[in-house]
């Protein structure tokens, strides 16, 4: 070749340890909550549950660059699956959780197959509809869901006679689940499967021309994402012991989108960082009293201005981790 490689020789990669900073941050936050317990433990527990959900959302929206406003539907299926099977039918939590996840993935396959043929805005609208319809079902199907009243008396998560009841026990369990989810995302990222998703994200035409079955990979990402959402929904009801339609409403869509973008869409650490930051920020602004929401909003805007690709991207070489 005549082209000499010396013109713009690539720089050495930055020291890889900076990539560990987001994880260190998460460990410090969880450790703090563990020591302090009480309210802090509750806030961080919810953040970790959101992190599971957002990790799944990121597979579909970050890795494969698709849009879904309806993943809350799958969290609802997982959550209500667990709630009804344990509280009403007396199942133990683990099989109820597995059943809920399977039901959510099945539902995702049924709606995803036609929906993923839609493009851009139509896919977004279609998924939004899925979320709204599921919400209506949780409200109206009173014989099973008890409507707005909700279902209480859901047992804490446990296996056999061992139950996770204490705040700290829940934090440990949730941390392990989040770590496993992040580990899965990291492995997917660096695999043939994950590269195919990135290819779909980069150029569907080019991916297709290289033999990648684009609709199949989109569907797989959607199903995975639904599975994570259902896991998060199920974890939530077992941690709180109660579920009502509001839990998986439109609010969840907005909060999780914020977490995804603040943390860093398409990165591995982003969902966890985003979930923690977005959960903790309003708490740190409590001192502002009436201006709490204003300060929170301003902080989000500043984050998006100074870290437009998300916080985790600041620590990842080339904006990827």
């Amino acid at each position: 070749m005549t082209i000499s490689p010396s013109i713009t020789s690539p720089e050495r990669r930055p020291f890889r340890l900076v990539g560990l900073l987001p994880w260190l941050f998460a460990a410090v936050v969880v450790g703090y909550a563990m020591v302090v317990g009480g309210y802090a433990a509750t806030v961080v527990s919810f953040a970790l549950i959101y992190a599971v959900f957002v990790t799944g959302l990121n597979l579909f929206m970050g890795f494969a660059a698709q849009v879904s406003f309806g993943q809350n539907a799958f969290a609802a299926i997982g959550g209500y699956g667990s709630a009804v099977l344990t509280a009403t039918y007396g199942w133990s939590p683990l099989p109820a959780m597995v059943f809920g996840i399977a039901a959510a993935v099945l539902a995702a396959a049924i709606v995803g197959f036609p929906a993923l043929r839609l493009k851009g805005h139509y896919l977004a609208m279609g998924t939004l509809a899925i979320g709204l319809i599921t919400y209506e079902i949780t409200v109206e199907w009173q014989s099973v869901t008890q409507g707005y009243l909700g279902i209480s008396g859901i047992p804490p998560f446990g296996i056999g006679s061992w139950e996770v009841t204490s705040d700290r026990g829940q934090l440990v369990m949730l941390s392990l689940v989040v770590a496993a989810c992040a580990f899965a995302a990291a492995r997917i990222r660096r695999s043939r499967f994950g590269r195919a998703l990135s290819a779909v994200a980069g150029s569907e035409e080019a991916a297709t021309a290289l033999g990648i079955d684009v609709s199949r990979y989109k569907l797989m990402a959607f199903l995975l994402s639904a599975g994570f959402a259902a896991l998060a929904g199920s974890l939530f009801v077992h941690v709180v012991g109660y579920v009502s339609p509001e839990v998986f409403g439109l609010h969840m869509v907005i909060v999780t989108f914020t977490m995804l973008y603040v943390g860093g869409i398409g990165t591995v650490a982003g969902p966890l960082v985003g979930a923690l930051i977005v959960s903790l920020l309003p708490e740190t602004f409590r001192a502002f009293k009436d201006y709490q929401d204003l300060a929170y909003g301003a902080a989000l805007i500043l984050l998006l201005i100074y870290a437009p690709r998300g916080l985790a991207s600041l620590f990842a070489p080339r904006g990827r981790s």
């Binding site: 490689p5 492995r187 043939r192 499967f193 021309a209 990648i212 904006g319």
Partner: protein, 267 residues
């Protein structure tokens, strides 16, 4: 048996007949070029062959197998891979990962292999890594392996797209104006790479406006104008063909100078 055979392939866009009853064969060996003025229907022809668009009429046979109307990823799986007139890289991926995506058809690992990483998946991944690096070396891109693809200068982006397509291990590769935007030096390097690909047993079908490249690289030339095939033969034969000269210059005057022909085509 020829590697590719087109039989009366036609594509209409409303009233426009972009490809009109085109038939020709691409042998298994060597480089075949498709030339023609702007808007002649060359890219549309590639879209039909690669499955990006279904033809309105006609048949397309790849190694004797009817691939007419097959979805594009299945055409690629059959061993027919294309590049694009406007480079379509996976811009957020590194240069190396772009080529690894090109190796997609060479591997089998799925979701469970990604999560559990059994020995077979690790072996496959190591083989993909080695192959991708080898191809980068071949394309002169090794020094950029870990750079994002979007950061490459234009000429190298074209090389990367070519390396990525060859990674798929195709038996027929379609190149849509691979030399567009390259300087003379890069163009000459490209010409050598294309010859290498053909010598390694991959049949090459390329669209090209750069007549020097066509004359130096192609064994056979098919000429299209207004969607129809107007000539076919060796580069020398085609260049002397009055119908071809007329198509390029819009007059009957013969033009022996390839540079003039090229300018007219870009005009």
């Amino acid at each position: 048996m020829s590697r590719l055979k087109l039989e009366g392939v036609t594509r209409r866009f409303g009233g426009l007949v972009a490809v009109d009853d085109v038939s020709f064969e691409v042998p298994a060996e060597g480089v075949t070029a498709v030339i023609g003025p702007n808007g002649a229907g060359k890219t549309t022809l590639f879209n039909l062959i690669s499955g990006a668009l279904p033809p309105s009429a006609g048949r397309i046979l790849f190694e004797g197998q009817d691939i007419t109307g097959l979805p594009a990823h299945k055409v690629a799986t059959a061993g027919l891979v294309r590049t694009f007139q406007l480079v379509k890289l996976f811009e957020d991926l590194s240069v190396l990962d772009n080529v690894k995506v090109g190796c997609h058809l060479q591997g089998r690992a799925g979701l469970f292999a990604a999560l559990l990483r059994p020995a077979s998946a690790r072996r496959e991944e190591a083989a993909v890594d080695a192959r991708a690096r080898e191809l980068l070396d071949f394309a002169g891109l090794s020094a950029f392996a870990d750079e994002p693809a979007s950061g490459l200068p234009y000429g190298r982006q074209r090389m990367l797209e070519l390396a990525r397509a060859t990674a798929a291990g195709p038996r027929l590769i379609l190149l849509d104006e691979p030399a567009a935007g390259l300087n003379t030096e890069e163009s000459a390097a490209l010409s050598r790479i294309i010859r290498r690909i053909a010598d390694d047993g991959t049949s090459v079908l390329l669209i090209e406006h750069d007549m020097t490249l066509v004359m130096n690289t192609a064994d056979r030339v098919v000429v299209v104008d207004f969607g129809r095939k107007i000539a076919q033969g060796t580069p020398a034969e085609v260049r002397a063909d009055p119908a071809v000269i007329a198509a390029y210059l819009g007059t009957g005057k013969p033009s022996p100078d390839p540079a003039a022909t090229q300018e007219a085509a870009h005009g």
